[in-house]
Amino acid sequence: MLNPWMFVGLFLIVGLLIPVAAIVLSALLAPRKPNPIKLSTYECGMETVGDSWVQFKAQYYVFALVFLIFDVETVFLFPWALALNALPFFAVVEGIVFILILIAGLSFAWRKGMLEWV
């Protein structure tokens, strides 16, 4: 019971129960008198236009890729940052070199105009 993940598990269970309870309760309690206008798709009050499956711009994909790379960088830097107090100067410099190498990639993407929304 001392495992700290127990709390995460509890949150998971409660977090699943609350929406399920809301849906089940409303299904049990709410009166149902459907008509075509009520059943139409609600989109902030506007009439919905077109298909829900639209083609995204390819640029989203580039952003996701760059985000993924910096996500992985965080994974490497997190233990480094945690151990920073206990590390020799050499190791601190190594971490900074790691960041600088990736900044080179970011500046490359920036210069090629990948970060601008077109």
Binding site: W5, Q55, Y61, L65, A86, L102
Partner: protein, 169 residues
């Protein structure tokens, strides 16, 4: 006992959602089932007390890779998904290769001398395993070279992504 029940629940979640990933027709639903699979793996890591790996699994695999999958799916066209077959003529070959892979992996893992009753090595008390990891990653006698090579690998991945996405004029 509780740990075993947790393991079997995780395993069932992973297997069922993995099967759903490859059988569901709608690619967005497949991506959502993939998230369930990855989350099951995160649960497994958490149950093994590998907290950092569990968090990394959620942040990187669910937070970034699954999002990338969904973006990739949204780049495709819907008609493509409905009309094409889910299997092709090569499926018996793929099945055979997977079976060979399973046997080979079982052979290799069996060679480690790990049995189902092996007790894991204890984490020394009073030391934060993550700080140990940070020290090991950057110690010259340990993993500092792979650490720096990893940054070059990430740089290569980023340059490659930018190059592929670039408008070649």
């Amino acid at each position: 006992m509780g740990a075993q029940i947790l393991f079997f629940l995780c395993a069932a979640l992973i297997l069922i959602s993995a099967i759903m990933v490859v059988t569901v027709r709608n690619l967005i639903h497949a991506a959502l089932w993939l998230i369930a699979t990855l989350f099951g793996a995160a649960l497994l890591y958490a149950s093994l007390d590998a907290s950092f790996i569990a968090v990394v699994q959620v942040v990187v695999y669910i937070g970034a890779i699954a999002i990338m999958f969904i973006f990739a799916v949204m780049l495709t066209r819907r008609e493509l998904l409905i009309k094409t077959d889910q299997t092709n003529a090569n499926w018996p070959l793929a099945l055979g290769l997977s079976a060979v892979m399973l046997v080979a992996l079982g052979y290799v893992i069996g060679g480690f001398g790990v049995t189902l009753n092996t007790t894991p090595a204890a984490i020394p008390a009073g030391v934060d395993p993550l700080t140990l990891l940070g020290k090991a990653l950057l110690a010259p006698e340990a993993y500092v070279l792979p650490f720096e090579v990893a940054s070059v690998l990430l740089l290569a991945a980023m340059v490659g992504a930018v190059y592929v996405a670039m408008n070649k004029k």
